[in-house]
Amino acid sequence: MSETLLFALELTISGLLVGLMYSLVALGFVLIYKASGVFNFAQGDMTFLAALALASFVVKIPLWISLIVVLAIMLILAMAVERIVLKPLVARPPLVLFMATIGVAFFLQGLAQGIWGTQPRGLELGLADQTYDVAGMFISNMDILGAVVAGILLIALVWFFQKTKTGRALRAVSDDHEAALAVGIPLRKAWGITWAIAGIVAIVAGALWGSRVGVQASLALLALKALPVLIIGGIDSIPGAILGGLIIGAAENLAEGLIGPAVGGGIKNFFPYLLALIVLAVRPYGLFGREIIERV
């Protein structure tokens, strides 16, 4: 195999591995958007809160107990959001709900920093960073771990939505929440479950990203990284979020590695947005987003 080809392959693989983690962040948005039609501005801060809580617990108690405690926090948070924010705003326009999630975002950021302080922390998951040589390509074990964990969670979620009674009901709610209510699907329970799932996604994303880049407030900006994924994949498509993440991960890595040196680098930061703009021009609801079904 030629040198460049091998290099491109290595870039693609490590890009795909990181891409799965983008998928994960994007998925948090997709879930809530599908169930309640809200773009949840707080998803990034939920990720930050989860990562910060985990980072502060894990230095005192074993990892698995820390994870359970953080899980409990996220579940309580989901119930609180449903009760305090969503319930009083039922049947309000989506923009009102969006504004409410902005409020939740700032509240969470303040809450997390109020409890655990503002200084950046490292998050040790007890795994030494190593790089393996696979057929001449260098692949990091952190990338592999992240991809495996993200992959398992994604598969579990797809299974849950497609195959279980509750998952089916959540899909029904996302199609027509009033009709769902009319056949006896409890809307508030559905929203609570959705936010709880988004919370779980935030924990996994927070743990994986936190252990790579450290835990600080800018972790919440990962949400911005999810935007191009959402535009490319479509904000209401679970497979779209997964594939969108993979596409962005591979594309930005390839662009940086192959074109970057020629133009002085730094492509990675804007390339995803460039890609998103192109997709937006060609297919406004994303590559996989649902078309509005209109019959005559």
């Binding site: 899909r171 199609d175 209510l181 009319a182 006896g184 079904i293 019959r295």
Partner: protein
């Protein structure tokens, strides 16, 4: 009103509904549906039929509406303070106006969603019951509900409601936008559901001719009030109903009709 030996299955007692805290839409509506009966609720667009049905299913909250006066009883029990899901569990299910199928779910998944409130093991078997009544749905079981025809969607909406094993079905304008032959097919199926599955029916319709033919008893609504009620046969013979709802009139001049309409309304309300 009908005063049989048995209490009615459903009793709506002088309810008032207000939207957005200020818009008074129902101004004291009362009606009764006897067990296993077919009762229709007639009225022009905007009369308050859908609001009445939504009040019964307790769906008004999602539209910022509220029952501010009166009571709703089902099988002797107050249901006006229950959650919508609980109302369904009691056996009161609604087929909303405009079909409202879950467009991105398959026909079969739509039906399974209808059984959400049930925990028994017979759900899968009941799919076949629905398919027996609605043959067309069986052929389209794996199709996305958004892509089946309007008539099939209406059948799906009714089949989905049937999956909850209801005692009473509230049907909101099932004939809307469908060809007469299809409407007849659907009404015949509803009649057999009433007959063989013991489903009581409350039917809201603008299509008065069809509904009066189908029901035993009818209520006529206008402007948030019940202005007339009686046996369907009697209502069909009512002079005003014949003129305004069945279109059976000799008078051709529109302006004259309007004047007369106004006078007649006054007579009803007196």
């Amino acid at each position: 009103m009908t005063q049989g030996a048995k209490p009615p299955l459903l009793r709506v007692n002088n309810i008032e509904v207000i939207y957005e805290h200020v818009i008074l839409v129902l101004k004291g509506v009362s009606l009764e549906v006897p067990e296993r009966g077919i009762v229709s609720l007639l009225g022009a667009n905007g009369a308050g039929k859908s609001t009445t049905l939504k009040a019964i299913s307790n769906l008004l909250h999602a539209e910022r509406g509220e029952v501010t006066k009166g009571t709703i009883e089902f099988a002797g029990m107050r249901i006006d303070r229950m959650h919508p899901a609980q109302v369904v569990k009691q056996g009161v299910v609604q087929v909303m106006e405009g079909r409202r199928v879950f467009e991105h779910l398959t026909v079969e998944d739509n039906l399974l969603c209808g059984a959400y409130t049930r925990n028994d093991k017979k759900v899968r078997g009941d799919l076949n019951v629905v398919y027996r009544y609605f043959r067309r749905l069986e052929q389209r079981r794996q199709a996305k509900a958004g892509y089946i025809s309007g008539g099939e969607q209406q059948m799906l909406a009714i089949g989905r409601a049937l999956m909850s094993k209801p005692k009473i079905m509230l049907l909101d304008e099932p004939s809307m936008g469908l060809a007469p032959l299809l409407v007849e097919e659907i009404f015949n199926i509803i009649r057999s559901l009433n007959d063989q599955e013991n489903v009581t029916v409350l039917l809201a319709e603008q299509n008065a001719a069809m509904a009066l033919d189908f029901a035993q008893y009818a209520y006529v609504m206008e402007n948030g009030r019940v202005v007339l009620d009686g046996e369907a046969a009697v209502i069909s013979d009512n002079e005003d109903v014949r003129e305004f709802y069945l279109g059976l009139t000799e008078i051709g001049k529109k302006s004259y009709r309007d004047v007369k309409h106004y006078k007649r309304r006054k007579r009803w309300l007196a």
